[in-house]
Point group: C2
Chain length 345, copies 2
């Protein structure tokens, strides 16, 4: 840490690099005071147009970039937000972050990224640091759709929860359309002629497993069909997909469609079906969830899957945060629809 | 955008949320001037210890968090850095970012994340925005080890290149130890009794494919062995791993070890070997690169692989950047060693 006390507008370089032109340099070149140069560049005050033009020309010649630090002192905003993620693998947070960046970039905001690593103490530490930085708002991105405790009460800036909604309904949350995901999968399987459809999914303790399973049963009923057997709750893994299919083929050998709650499960399921001698997709159709491209495309056959629209979800979170910062918060739970990506399974 | 002109220390809330206590509130509660309150909290100036204590107590009661904006005006630093990533899937950038965050967090710095999406125009836009924000430095994280053009000349802040080194050797770059990765894999295969070892890897146009292939040949020679056939250059995909193994078993049916340049290739290779009837790892040993856990653990058998230490690489990039900001740049190409993760393949 340096104890240099220069101000950023005109500080000497601490690291031997060429120093940036500051407002004082611009003023000197234009032959005006620092205050006049500042007014000219901010478009404020009563200045002659000739003076304004001279200052602007000097700023351009010196490649002067207006300091956001100084700008924030004038507007009361820092044009920064914090994004806190909990997703160690990045599969869920990367598309959310990218979408949020799109929305925030349009609002000329930059995002500080903090990884809480599913540790509440780290999370609180990040909240504190972000508030010290005077961020204008915070996005908290989860990796599950289970409701979570709010990061705090009466925080001085708006917070938007992405994917994992806040348990407090007066907070602003945006999540994926889980019932809609099940409907997209079932409608596709029925449309392609499947009538004996089973469901293999993740742990019963995860909200998205339970909601998708219930919605699967409902979507089948809307077509006048019943689920084959009970939903198979297990884990988000290929091994579970393989194991469940082996059991399923024993209990219901005439199954002709399987909706899997995740691409990793669908991948294990397609491997087990293929290795059992079943012809895919002729004999059994399989649909996953996630559209995790690198894995879905490598499966044999490549997976038909429901894309939950996480990038769009991130964009929506960014838009909701900007609206809240601008004084128009939209509390409650917002959902973003998914869409089906048809491949060969 | 708001045109509110309040200063952040005492601005009225624009969004209906409880407003943060500012330095003026602390001063009022302690019964001192704003200047005195500021000196007391910054530990500067000649103040009576009693006054200092009273101001600190007031700050605590009001949960006053010192504004980084104000602090940066005093030190000439913003304690922020920018991280620019190019990695759309996040497999490489997530561990690098996490490591960098570790190093920067210790220096009380926060990172703005920008995704260039492999688009040079986006990258320049991000550089410009980051410089406008007066970041203290920038990390540019790539997803390949090929040297890349520097992001600019004579930038006013230090830049550290992570994974993809700068083509300018006077820049600060840190990358993975590619020859070392090949040695780790070959040493393991030889130690487990393999003598007829082949190499299947990514595109010849990628530096890491070429360097690992050359280093594989050298590492084998150090054991008095020759590579079986030529290196198989192809693509970073499971399909390539499957296809290459099918050809390899035709040309060299007595191969007993395969070093694959990536886990996705190794995964395709193990699938093809298993489906050809080979017993793994008894008949053929397979080693990958990446330790992309979610895929390596799902393979049958789970993959033995070289972990390139990307999180450590990110940490090193963060440390190199902090050193450069503090006036001690270490130009040149730094490498971070990998390590072998032994599973069942």
């Amino acid at each position: 840490m340096t104890s240099d006390t220069s101000v950023p507008e005109s500080g000497p370089p601490a690291n031997g690099l060429p120093r940036r032109a500051g407002i004082a340099d611009v003023a000197a070149r234009a032959g005006v005071s620092v205050g006049t140069a500042s007014k000219a560049l901010n478009g404020r005050g009563n200045l002659r147009e000739e003076t304004r033009a001279r200052v602007r020309a000097a700023a351009e010649e010196l490649e002067f970039a207006p300091s956001t630090v100084a700008r924030s002192l004038l507007t009361g905003r820092t044009f920064t937000v914090g994004i806190i993620t909990t997703d160690s693998y990045g599969r869920f947070s990367i598309p959310i972050m990218r979408g949020a960046e799109d929305a925030l970039g349009l609002g000329e905001m930059l995002a500080f990224l903090c990884d809480s690593r599913d540790d509440p103490i780290r999370e609180q530490h990040h909240i504190k640091r972000l508030l010290e930085r005077r961020v204008d708002g915070i996005i908290v991105a989860g990796r599950r759709t289970d409701a979570r405790q709010p990061v705090g009460r009466n925080l001085p800036v708006p917070v938007v929860y992405a994917l994992a909604p806040s348990a407090d309904e007066s907070d602003i949350s945006v999540t994926s359309d889980e019932p809609g995901a099940a409907r997209l999968a079932i409608d596709h399987l029925v449309r392609t002629g499947r009538r004996r459809i089973a469901h293999i999914t993740g742990p019963h303790s995860h909200a998205s497993s339970r909601v998708r399973a219930d919605s699967t049963v409902e979507a089948l009923r809307a077509h006048g069909l019943e689920l084959v057997g009970d939903p198979w709750f297990g884990s988000w893994s290929e091994a579970w997909g393989r194991f469940a299919v082996a059991q399923l083929l024993r209990s219901d050998p005439d199954v002709d469609g399987i909706f899997c709650g995740a691409d990793v499960i669908a991948r294990g399921a397609t491997d087990a079906l293929r290795e059992s001698g079943a012809s895919l997709p002729m004999q059994v159709g399989v649909v996953g969830v996630d559209n995790w491209v690198i894995s879905a495309e490598a499966a044999r056959p490549p997976l038909t899957t429901v894309d939950l629209g996480l990038q769009e979800l991130g964009r929506r979170a960014g838009e909701l945060l900007i609206a809240a910062i601008d004084g128009s918060p939209a509390p409650g739970l917002h959902t973003v629809p998914g869409h089906l990506v048809v491949r060969e399974s």
